[in-house]
């Protein structure tokens, strides 16, 4: 493809600390790509290396046919929307937006600035200074200031981090529609998994300088590759078990004495010890002993230990006979009975919702960094 962004075995060390560890990554032209991970995972360092603000210790960065690994930032067709915006406080909004065009000695700066301010709906504020604008408005100025240069790649470093929740949701949709409109490659760094899933068509989950998994939000969510992804992206119930028999695509597992089915498509390991995982909203409860048929997976003899009502759903914690607490989200359709703490229940889910992970991984990896 024309101007794909390609990182090949990129490593960045700061002293003895390895921020980015032998990273290989291809970002197709025109995609909305998210680098998702907890703070310190190397996602911002990766972004800064693409911008030219950091130089890789080893490895190469290609933009289309051009090697930009050691190219100065001001010579790269790449622009950044900085975390907390970094707007020039001494310049008006119009001059902030015009900055990149003036440096490139483009013509028709004033009219282009007008058009760009119209796109982000800030024409009426052109003469103001950044300090006179609200956070959401500043965010849009930062976006306009970068977009106006029509970079081959637009880098967004936690662009919505400083906004309150409601505005953040709104800006997510706006950013997505602007990206669709202009058709540029967006690389978005965030620690907010919901933000990444809402906006990006491809998400790379990073942890400790490496990419844990890369794919569409659906793939990552339905078939996580590691316990880190399973826990960092949404929540997961991970129960230890072992593969008993394999019949074509169907795997049969022994999980704490129960017979659990899984599909090979969602299995990272197909034999031996495994973590059998299922998302909380895929599970539904029934009173103990109520048979729900042979084609669903069932873990029996749980006791409801906690019930939280959250409006759209009810979240249960169920203590299993082997001591583990599993999480179940049930939609509040009103069609099903609500359980109370102390009720004896069985857990059910469809076999295709089971995913299998390597048993040697830490079952709690990525769980404690969940953003509030």
């Amino acid at each position: 493809m024309g101007t794909d962004l390609q990182l090949t075995s990129v490593t960045k060390r700061f002293g003895t600390f390895t921020a980015v560890d032998d990273l290989d990554l291809t970002i197709p032209e025109g995609s909305f790509f998210a680098l998702l991970g907890p703070s310190g995972c190397g996602k911002t360092t990766t972004l800064r290396m693409v911008a030219g603000l950091e130089e890789p210790t080893t490895g190469t960065i290609m933009l289309g046919e051009q090697d930009i690994t050691r190219l100065k930032p001001y010579r790269r067709p790449v622009n950044t929307v900085f975390q907390s915006y970094a707007l020039f406080p001494h310049l008006t909004i119009a001059d902030n937006v015009a900055f990149g065009l003036k440096r490139q000695r483009r013509k028709d700066v004033a009219s282009t600035v007008q058009e760009m301010l119209a796109l982000v709906e800030l024409e009426h504020l052109a003469k103001r200074r950044p300090a006179q604008l609200s956070g959401g408005q500043q965010q849009r100025v930062a976006l306009a200031r970068a977009l106006i240069n029509q970079p081959q790649v637009l880098l967004l470093d936690e662009p919505l981090g400083a906004l309150d929740l409601k505005l953040r949701r709104q800006m997510q949709l706006e950013l997505k529609s602007i990206q669709t409109e202009v058709g540029l490659t967006f690389v978005h760094v965030t620690h907010d998994q919901e933000e990444a899933m809402t906006m990006a068509d491809t998400v790379a989950v990073m942890n400790e300088g490496r990419i844990e998994q890369l794919g569409s939000p659906e793939e990552l969510y339905e078939a996580p590759a590691t316990t880190f992804v399973a826990n960092f992206l949404g929540q997961s119930n991970l129960v230890s078990g072992s593969v008993a028999t394999t019949r074509g695509d169907a795997l049969e597992l022994d999980v704490q004495g129960a017979r659990i089915l899984a599909h090979a498509a969602h299995a990272r390991v197909t034999s031996g010890e495994v973590w059998a995982g299922v998302r909380p909203e895929k599970v539904y409860l029934s009173g103990a002993g109520d048979d729900d048929g042979a084609d669903v997976n069932t873990l029996g003899d749980g006791v409801v230990s906690d019930v939280s009502f959250v409006g759209v759903s009810t979240q249960y914690l169920v203590r299993m006979p082997w001591g583990q607490e599993l999480t179940v989200f049930e939609q509040n359709t009103g069609a099903r009975e609500r359980f109370r703490p102390g009720d004896k229940v069985d857990l059910h889910w469809r076999p295709e919702h089971t995913f299998l992970l390597d048993a040697s991984q830490d079952a709690s990896a990525g769980a404690e960094v969940e953003d509030a």
Binding site: Y74, A86, L87, F99, R103, E121, G135, D164, K166
Partner: protein, 305 residues
């Protein structure tokens, strides 16, 4: 964008605290003026009264003397005489001060920049080093330059050997020595405000400049320098104003032909010619006020991008 409207007054930190307006504003009343009182009294006693006295003295009849007393005759001729007799010293003072100020900018800007952005853990040590000379008296520091620049000292010998100076060349008792002394003595007054301005600049603004196609030099010109202007203006004033009125450096490092207006004023006061001395002082003050006013206006409004 309806949502942008109602959040417009909220910063990221206080997004949830949109309470009623702060009642503090109405409660202040007299306490503010009371707090101003000591400063106002100080200014009245040590600025307004002396200034009025100085202006009055400059209009006394010059035929009087300290012993016989002076007559207030509204003698404007004092100013004409003072400017006629001391014009060259006047111009020289402003030129020396200007050169010293420029030298302070040239030396001080890189130093302040290095302390603000490059010094890392040496930052505090470097700041102490800038301030440390103040622990010694102004006079002693200037006297020591007599040795540094002296005819038989190392610096002159080296410069002679390198043929920068002729075999009989010297540095002490030259305009160069006076300007060097001024530059040395007032450099910290340039460095400290510049440092304070530079230190406040978010490094991400500089990164944003380079990200937006500005070379390091252009980023400096369009981002760093405009943001450092408050420090540069303050530093220039703190350097130029005292340098223009200084007489110690010319006295200790100069010769009769490097005399500045401060030397003349001091001599006139010593000789008891108070009206002429006061007329010179008032003229110097007025000249500096006009120059500073023009400078601040220009620096404040100039389009730097």
């Amino acid at each position: 964008m309806s949502a942008a409207g109602h959040i417009s007054s909220l910063g990221p930190a206080e997004a949830e605290l949109d309470g009623p307006p702060d009642p503090e504003g109405q409660k202040r009343g007299w306490s503010g003026y009371l707090l101003l009182l000591p400063g106002a009294l100080w200014l009245l006693l040590f600025f307004v009264v002396p200034t009025v006295t100085l202006v009055a003295t400059s209009l006394y009849d010059p035929s009087g003397s300290l012993q016989l007393g002076y007559q207030m005759t509204g003698h404007w001729q004092n100013y004409v005489d003072a400017l006629r007799d001391y014009g060259p010293q006047f111009v020289r003072s402003l030129i020396y001060a200007l050169i010293a100020t420029i030298a302070c900018i040239v030396l001080g800007f890189p130093l302040a920049y290095a302390i603000a952005f490059k010094a890392g853990r040496w930052k505090n040590l470097m700041l102490v080093a800038v301030i440390a000379p103040f622990f010694t008296s102004f006079l002693v520091r200037t006297l020591s330059w007599q040795y540094i620049l002296g005819d038989n000292e190392a610096l002159v010998s080296v410069l002679r050997a390198l043929h920068v100076l002729g075999p009989e060349g010297y540095l002490l008792a030259t305009p160069f020595a006076v300007v060097t002394g001024l530059t040395y003595n007032f450099l910290p007054f340039m460095v400290l405000p510049l440092y304070a301005s530079l230190e406040k600049i978010d490094p991400r603004l500089i990164e944003a400049g380079t990200d937006l196609y500005a070379s390091p030099f252009t980023t400096f010109r369009t981002v760093t320098l405009p943001l450092a202007m408050p420090g540069l203006v303050a530093g220039t004033l703190l350097t130029f104003i005292p340098a223009a009125g200084d007489y110690i450096n010319s006295e200790l490092l100069g010769n009769p032909r490097t005399r500045m207006i401060g030397n003349e004023i001091q001599d006139l006061f010593g000789a008891g010619d108070y009206p002429t001395a006061a007329a010179l002082s008032v003229t110097l003050m007025a000249a500096i006020v006009v120059l500073v006013f023009v400078y601040v206006r220009r620096a404040g409004t100039e389009e730097l991008v």
